[in-house]
């Protein structure tokens, strides 16, 4: 029989039992729809995270202390504060691919003005910070190299802090007390929004790192150094260069492991995205189980169908159908059932993803590949679970099949 005839036959058979076929396909429909929604949302989440990480800065490289081995024991990142301002100076002086570099000295402190008080992060940074993070002052100005060199008590407020401390008043030119030290506010940063992990980027005060280490924390070491490569292509070269220079500055021999870690922002993005990958994988597993259950449903209904249609099979065999003809007929039927279920599931999934995206504001994306794969997979489920019933139908004895009541 021709394939078209077989497909027509299969559709006829399915149409004869619409309700039953629909219920049977439900497992496949739910499975495929779940896969589509999960992949769409997962993809959206990943691209959102990537975007947020890119928002961190321009061609950014992050150097953190740690990941060192002390006497054979791996210490993990940031176990020891091994970075110093000398590392920054050396890289700034000798690196070719690094266009900007700034230490980041972090502490949390209570800040007070006559209008209010707030606890926030105080980041001691260099003037390059605004270039690396692509983050300029919206009001007033960023502090200059002189302020850094002279450890002046000047501060640039993040948008959130400015609102908390001054409400609607103009903060630039006023004073804020950080710890016990009065600082003059020289600027307010442009708003940057939330980070990938959901914290508020604008809840911060930037001060010269020299001031931060001498007047505030007194810490001689630096928890983080950020730098910018000249261009995206330069990032790997810049990373290698920074690594070599910092090793040199730390007097590490060839046999020593790095006592610091150099990462670029893409690696940070991947690390952040890996958590969503785990979620996607988990959802895919659940969806696979649904497809499996759907497949078993198809098998069950096909077995019932073969029993119900024993006489029909007998007639077909008597008038000259081969076992293989009957096998193909029932196999095509279960494949068609799987594919229809897959198609309905795909449609449901696409609509579901769109609706979910609309109400949650998440970006969703559905690739054509996943559509093809999900339909193909549904068909494969049909083949796999339809084969046994089809085989049973094909093996019937025509005499007994004809006599079957």
């Amino acid at each position: 029989m021709k394939l078209m005839t077989l497909v027509k036959l299969a559709l006829q058979a399915i149409r004869k039992n619409k309700m039953r076929a629909t219920l049977t396909m439900l497992g496949i429909i739910i499975g495929v729809a779940a896969v589509i929604v999960m992949v769409a949302v997962g993809y959206g989440a990943r691209s959102r995270i990537k975007e947020q990480i890119n928002n961190l800065g321009t061609n950014m490289i992050v150097i953190t202390p740690g990941a060192s081995t002390q006497g054979g024991v791996s210490q993990g990142a940031q176990a020891f504060a091994t970075l110093t301002i000398d590392d920054v100076t050396k890289v700034r002086a000798e690196a070719q691919y690094v266009t900007a570099i700034s230490p980041v000295v972090v502490s949390r402190m209570q800040v007070v003005t006559p209008q209010g008080n707030w606890r926030t992060a105080i980041n001691g940074v260099d003037t390059d910070y605004q270039t690396i993070r692509n983050w300029a002052a919206a009001d007033g100005a960023f502090f200059g190299p002189d302020d850094v060199r002279s450890s002046r008590t000047v501060a640039v407020l993040g948008r959130t802090v400015a609102q908390r401390l001054f409400a609607d008043n103009e903060p630039v030119g006023q004073e804020v007390q950080i710890g016990n030290v009065p600082f003059t506010i020289v600027g307010v940063l442009a708003p940057k929004g939330q980070t990938a992990s959901g914290t508020d980027s604008d809840d911060v005060i930037l001060v010269p790192y020299t001031t931060a280490s001498t007047r505030l924390s007194g810490k001689p070491r630096i928890p983080q150094i950020i730098a910018s490569a000249g261009s995206a292509q330069d990032i790997p070269a810049a990373q290698d260069e920074v690594r070599a220079l910092v090793r040199e500055a730390h007097h590490l021999t060839q046999n020593d492991d790095d006592d610091f870690t150099v990462k670029n922002q893409n690696e940070l993005a991947d690390a952040a995205a890996s958590s969503t990958n785990v979620m996607t994988l988990l959802m895919a597993a659940i969806a696979s189980i649904s497809l499996l259950v759907g497949g078993i449903g198809i098998m069950n209904i096909m077995l019932v169908s073969v029993t119900e249609r024993t006489r029909e099979i007998g007639i077909r065999l008597a008038i000259g159908a081969r076992g293989s003809d009957v096998l193909t007929q029932f196999l095509v039927e279960s494949i068609v059932m799987g594919v229809i279920g897959g198609a309905i599931g795909l449609l449901t999934g696409v609509i579901g993803a769109k609706v979910l995206g609309h109400f949650t504001g998440w970006e969703t994306a559905i690739s054509p590949l996943i559509m093809v794969v999900s339909i193909g997979f549904s068909g494969a489920v049909g083949v796999f679970f339809g084969y046994y019933p089809a085989r049973k139908a094909a093996a019937l004895n025509p005499i007994e099949a004809l006599r079957y009541e």
Partner: protein, 281 residues
């Protein structure tokens, strides 16, 4: 040999069920020539069903030879048997065995879809022609549920004819029909036989068998009697005679018909069982 459709030689069939074996056929020698109309008769358990299954290539004999239209059946495998059934045999069953919720046309077309010889091209036209032959040219798109029993059986006969088989094998074709419709169906078989089609009819009803040309009686797996039908009935004439009678008498009344017919009784047996109108020979 050319005009021999069926030739069996010492055909046996034994079913093994557990420790004991059932000898359904114990040596059947039967020759059927082209254009014959044979009634295979026998009570249940006589082996006639087994014989019909073997002749219909639905089953293979345990021993012996079976030559159908020049082909040695006993040597064929399952797929070859399927092809033989498709090309050389047209089946008509007691229960019509049409596909439900499938139009008459599609039912008749069905055997052609399983044809592997590639000879049958315009399957739809062939199916329409076959339905025309059984007088159902105006019922092409009716489903079995929309047709009477007699019409359904005629669709089944059209399905048997559509492949132009060497042999039409009818298994109790009138078993589910009332007597008037039975005669109609037998009239159709007789008409087709007149056109040269070889018909083998399996029945336990003597009053159906009288429309055949030859009766083969099977008992205990052997042919007990093989003789031409004396006083063969013409179904068309029987029908014409029946037209004169009220419907009730078709089924029940022997007396009026006897009077009308002037008692041209056929065989003892047939006359005893046959209803009145059939005795018009």
């Amino acid at each position: 040999m050319d005009d021999v459709v069926i030739q069996t030689n010492a055909l046996t069939k034994t079913y093994e069920s557990g420790s004991n074996s059932v000898h359904a056929l114990r040596g059947i020698d039967l020759t059927v020539h082209r254009g014959e109309f044979i009634a295979v008769m026998g009570t249940s358990g006589s082996g006639k069903s087994t014989l019909m299954n073997v002749l219909g290539c639905l089953d293979t004999p345990t021993s012996g030879n079976y030559l159908l239209d020049g082909v040695h059946i006993e040597t064929l495998d399952k797929n070859q048997l399927a092809a033989i059934r498709n090309e050389k045999i047209g089946f008509v069953f007691q229960g019509f065995n049409l596909l439900a919720r499938t139009s008459a046309l599609e039912n008749v077309e069905l055997p052609l879809l399983y044809d592997r010889s590639g000879r049958k091209r315009d399957t739809k036209a062939m199916a329409i022609a076959a339905l025309g032959r059984v007088g159902l040219g105006d019922r092409l798109n009716h489903q079995p549920s929309e047709l009477s029993g007699g019409q359904q059986q005629r669709v089944a006969i059209a399905r048997a004819l559509v492949t132009e088989p060497a042999l039409v094998l009818a298994d109790e074709p009138t078993g589910n029909l009332d007597s008037r419709t039975s005669i109609e169906v037998m009239a159709l078989f007789q008409a087709l036989n007149e056109q040269g089609i070889t018909v083998v009819l399996v029945t336990h009803e003597p009053d159906v068998a009288v429309y055949a040309k030859r009766i083969v009686e099977v008992r205990d797996g052997r042919i007990r009697r093989d003789a031409p039908v004396k006083n063969r009935h013409n179904a068309a004439e029987d029908l014409a005679a029946a037209e004169l009678l009220p419907d009730d008498d078709l089924v029940a009344g022997p007396s009026a018909a006897d009077a009308a017919a002037g008692g041209g009784a056929s065989t003892e047996k047939a006359a005893a069982v046959s209803s009145g109108e059939r005795s018009v020979a």
